[in-house]
């Protein structure tokens, strides 16, 4: 019986339990990484540290890296069982966001290319 007490606490569904949460250290690590990514973005955009035609790609990569840092260290999306539903929902959200943004940009770019030349006012 004793060995089971840790496993089956007498809990009504939905009653609070003490959840293990993140630590001050994980927030600080997240902050450090986020500052690093932010500073890198601003430096890359303001200097010729990167090959100039590659700057937009570099900025987008840094933005995705920083969003990843925020999701893991601040929003605590992890590989634990408590996160699986949230990650599935996030994957769907990312799909919709991707479709809306790339779809719009793609369609309008096509319209611009195929538009008949108009006399300038």
């Amino acid at each position: 019986m004793n060995s089971h007490e840790h496993v089956f606490d007498d809990r009504t569904p939905g009653v609070e339990e003490h959840e293990p949460t993140a630590s001050y250290l994980s927030y600080t690590a997240g902050l450090a990484l986020a500052i690093l990514a932010t500073a890198a973005s601003f430096i890359v955009s303001q200097t010729n540290l990167l090959w100039p035609p590659g700057i937009p790609v570099g900025l987008i990569v840094l933005a995705f890296a920083q969003i990843g840092v925020h999701l893991v260290f601040f929003l605590h999306l992890g590989s634990g069982p408590d996160s699986t539903n949230n990650i599935l929902a996030l994957a769907f959200g990312v799909l919709i966001v991707f479709l809306v943004i790339t779809g719009s940009v793609w369609i309008i770019a096509n319209l611009n290319t195929n538009m008949m030349a108009m006399p300038m006012q």
Partner: protein, 211 residues
């Protein structure tokens, strides 16, 4: 529930690890509430994606008016970015202190979060009013309409977050850190961190890619 009513579950199920997934009983209310709020945040992200798309499509349509490179002050944007990032950090520490039932620390971190969020808003509003004075208001060109819609909506989210924070702090002061209020704080911190994620997209797309 009497001891006899407790079912003898198979010992092989890692009960502590599998709550809400069939084996370990229902997920705690905290997990369920946070999941519901997460769905709301994702729907908010979908709304922002439409505004990002509009901006990406329209940024070149300046109609002879000022371009982003002429209007934006990158130094100010960097300060805005840092204040929002640090407010996200203090918000996380505040939520942590609240969960550890440390009201004094929570109040200090909440005050810091509020100050940093306000600093962000003050810089943004100053930038907006400066642009409107220069004749670069939202009615000037399609680019500026898209800019004010995207950045303005983010600003409105930050402002409503600050109002909600005041309301939550008042609840903590009056009622103390009991579980229902801790869940509200958890949702609020999710909202605040999500705003910082949107801001990463804003400063990358709006201010850095076009500057």
């Amino acid at each position: 529930m009497t001891a006899a009513a407790v079912p003898t579950a198979p010992a092989a199920v890692p009960t502590g690890l599998a709550r809400g997934r069939g084996g370990g009983g229902p997920a705690s209310k905290r997990i369920v509430v946070a999941y519901g709020f997460w769905i709301f945040i994702l729907s908010d992200m979908v709304m922002f994606s439409a505004m990002f798309a509009a901006y990406a499509v329209l940024y070149g349509n300046t109609a002879g008016g000022p371009t982003g490179a002429e209007l934006f002050n990158i130094r100010n944007v960097f300060i805005e970015t840092l204040s929002l990032l640090f407010s996200s950090y203090t918000c996380g520490l505040g939520a942590l202190s609240a969960e550890r039932r440390d009201p004094t620390r929570f109040l200090i971190f909440a005050a810091l979060t509020f100050l940093l969020g306000t600093a962000f808003l003050v810089i943004e509003v100053t930038e907006f009013s400066g642009m409107v004075e220069k004749g670069a208001g939202p009615t000037r060109s399609a680019f500026l309409s898209a800019f004010f819609t995207l950045v303005g909506t983010h600003g409105v989210h930050v402002a409503s977050g600050l109002i909600a924070l005041v309301y939550l702090v008042a609840q903590v002061v009056v009622k103390g850190l009991h579980p229902a209020i801790l869940r509200r704080l958890l949702c609020w911190s999710l909202f605040w961190h999500a705003l910082d994620i949107v801001w990463v997209g804003v400063f990358t797309l709006v201010y850095l890619l076009r500057a």
